[in-house]
């Protein structure tokens, strides 16, 4: 094997990975890049736990009467799958891993504004996930990830408190991360890095951070109220004592709907970066894409009632929430159209990250459009509580957020580790994931439309074929996720050196060596051009 110059330099040079060694140098680090890696390891572990629960569920549903577990166990499986995947994988995935790594680098800063808070947020996340793992190991929880009262407050005999406490604690990790990003983006930009020269990933992370800061505390207080109700039996949500169980749903969804945008907005930011880099074009309608992130964040706080159309909420509230939900489709569509327009006449190369980005665009569009079925009052009555909903939000959360995460990890992996992964394997895995995902979840749209309710351990025999298809798809999807896990770990040791900019991409993070030095840049960069200034962009018109 020939040892080229880049290889040699990455070995001899001091960078953030080799500037110090030992467990302590990682557990006490305040370097945003190392904290990103701590998060990457933690969320991958939680992902595997959540995926194991999903695997058992899909095996169970191979047979109409349930293949392996009792219905009580099945309830615990879908609850723990939802809780872990939403609160411990998807919400921190892109912000805490890619955001932590990239936000300071993309804006030309040495670190985030509050590095110690950044480390603290990881520790808070770990403590929260320990509570959740305790709950998983010692008997589970059966309320679903939504904790609806009065089941969660009065009737459930499972570990509701441990699960709620875990989520409550982890919320503070999100809040601190969001706070850190907002201050960093406002105050730490390099000279010349104006707001409209920021990469669109930064705009997405900014919008996400606003939701973190304003939404998470409401969920926190709701879970505290739930805990009080459960421990002291005081009646805040108990109708027998004058309380209102619907109020819990209002408070829960006030956070948890915007949380969907916490998951998908950062993925949209990643896709904007990928589409521009692999089309070698400036993103079409930069400011529209930027502001659509902010407007999605804003509108996301005004749509929570669409989860409650059939809950007994006022019909007038339902009308308003339905209208607002349609409204949020506009900025989402702006993004999709602008990515597509960026592709037009671009020099497109189909590297693995781009395959994920294109997969995102297609799957997010399907997830978004089926969301409109559910935002319509009349069709929602038929579809609410069925597998149609399950399919819809998996198209957003897995087809959207996870595809974005995978694309981002592949795109920035050479920057993070200084190594290239095997490109053919990566493309193959991306295609397997895309195929497996669709085979898993498209049949669920049909199941839901035919009336199969979600969250049941058994089902009528006529639904078996579609369920077997879905389980087959889940198997393919699982294999698809294992392949990158293997070759990415392999590449850390055996991958060829990447050099500073293997994709010839624009952006400050590519102008520093891979892996970057601890201070990110040897000299504070001075920004003189807009984001995505690729050569094929039309040259600026000379002044007359």
């Amino acid at each position: 094997m020939s040892v080229d110059v880049a290889e040699l330099s990455s070995r001899s040079r001091v960078h953030y990975l080799n500037e110090s060694y030992g467990v302590k140098s990682w557990l006490l680090t305040t370097d945003h890049k190392r904290i990103a890696l701590l998060y990457l390891v933690s969320i991958t572990f939680m992902f595997l736990v959540g995926a194991a629960a999903a695997a058992l569920m899909r095996i169970q549903l191979l047979e109409p009467n349930g293949a392996i577990v009792q219905p009580e166990t099945y309830n615990k499986l879908f609850s723990i799958h939802g809780i872990i995947m939403v609160f411990f994988f998807l919400i921190p995935s892109i912000p805490a891993v890619l955001g932590n790594f990239l936000v300071p680098m993309m804006i030309g800063a040495r670190d985030v504004a509050f590095p110690k808070l950044n480390l603290l947020s990881w520790y808070i996340y770990v403590v929260g996930s320990l509570f959740t793992l305790y709950c998983v190991i010692f008997g589970g929880v059966d309320t679903g990830w939504t904790f609806y009262t009065p089941f969660s407050s009065t009737y459930s005999n499972t570990h509701v408190l441990a699960a709620a406490l875990g989520i409550f604690i982890t919320g503070f990790s999100s809040i601190l991360t969001g706070l850190n990003f907002i201050v960093t983006i406002h105050r730490m930009r390099a000279p010349g890095m104006t707001w409209f020269r920021l990469p669109l990933f930064i705009w997405s992370i900014y919008a996400t951070s606003v939701i973190f800061v304003l939404g998470t505390p409401v969920l926190a207080i709701t879970l505290v109220l739930l805990t009080l109700e459960r421990v002291l039996h005081v009646g805040i949500f108990d109708p027998a004592l004058g309380g209102d169980p619907l109020l819990f749903q209002d408070l829960f969804w006030f956070y948890s709907h915007p949380a969907v945008y916490i998951m998908v907005l950062p993925a949209m930011g990643v896709v904007s970066e990928l589409v521009a880099a692999y089309s070698r074009k400036r993103i079409y309608g930069y400011s529209f894409v930027a502001f659509s992130s902010l407007s999605i964040a804003f509108i996301s706080f005004l749509v929570w009632g669409h989860h409650m159309f059939v809950s007994g909420q006022s019909i007038y509230a339902g009308l308003v929430f339905s209208f607002m939900s349609f409204l949020v489709a506009i900025p989402s569509a702006i993004k999709v159209f602008n990515w597509t327009a960026t592709l037009y006449k671009g020099s497109i190369s189909y590297d693995a990250p781009m395959l994920y980005a294109l997969g995102f665009i297609g799957l997010f569009t399907m997830g978004g459009l089926t969301g409109l079925f559910l935002a319509s009052l009349a069709t929602d009555v038929h579809l609410n509580g069925t597998y149609f909903i399950v399919a819809h939000f998996h198209y957003i959360m897995v087809g959207g957020a996870v595809m974005g995460f995978m694309g981002g990890i592949h795109f920035w992996w050479p920057k993070i580790t200084g190594r290239l992964y095997p490109d053919k394997w990566a493309r193959l895995a991306a295609l397997i994931i895309f195929a497996g995902f669709n085979l898993t979840f498209f049949p669920q749209f049909m199941l839901g439309y035919l009336g199969m309710p979600r969250r049941y351990a058994v089902y009528p025999a006529q639904f078996q074929v579609l369920n077997v298809m879905s389980t087959a798809g889940a198997t393919i999807l699982g294999i698809g996720y294992m392949i990158p896990l293997i070759y990415l770990i392999w590449s850390i040791r055996y991958g060829p050196a990447a050099g500073p900019n293997p994709w010839r991409a624009k952006g400050l993070e590519w102008q520093t060596p891979s892996p970057p030095p601890k201070e990110n840049f040897d000299e504070t960069p001075i920004v003189t051009e807009e984001a995505y200034a690729y050569a094929t962009s039309p040259p600026e018109r000379p002044r007359a």
């Binding site: 730490m188 800061v213 998470t216 505390p217 005081v234 805040i236 006030f254 201070e519 040897d522």
Partner: protein
Amino acid sequence: MPPVRRSALGPEMTATETRPRALEEQFESLDAQHDARKLGMWIFLATEVMFFGGLFMTYTIYRELYLPGFEQGSHLLEVRWGALNTGVLILSSLTMALAVRSAQVAARRFITIGLLGITMLLGTAFLAIKFLLEWRHDYAQHLVPGINFAYAGPYAAHVQLFFCFYFFMTALHALHLIIGIGILAVLAFLTWRGRFSDQYYSPLEVAALYWHFVDIVWIFLFPLLYLIGGR
């Protein structure tokens, strides 16, 4: 102390000048650091507003639904203690602001420490009145939901709901105050050690923002809990 790199210095500084001790690695100047910290605290306070906001909204809904019960509950509270506590906290905000000012104009160290001490004392007085006088009284009257609650009059369930909110909101507020007193204790110690100057006092100012916020929460809690239905 981190090594000084040329690029980290402002244009007017040369590499031989050292960075101030309080300046963290990631910032270019003390001013930038001060600005970032203040913005960080304001954003944290926005989080806090939403945290208390969820409770205030829940309270408002139930008060709207069950006004008679909430009025009865409110009339069982000792308004004179609540009023006294309001005065105590407003006074503590004044001494807190004076403490920041004294650091800002580089007054003598003992003045800043003294003002911080008075602020902490006032905070402690608030907690003493709250816990030792009010809550003990409430407990003796069987007004603590879930632990010791008995109420014979009409709307008993709604009175209980009122006391749920009363205890939870005041407890959450008291928790914030306890944290605030702890922060001030640390800052008083650091002041004594000579860590602050007229160039560098941002921890004091940031802590003061938090302290004032905790006061303002009480300014809202007092009328909402003690003054319902005219007394």
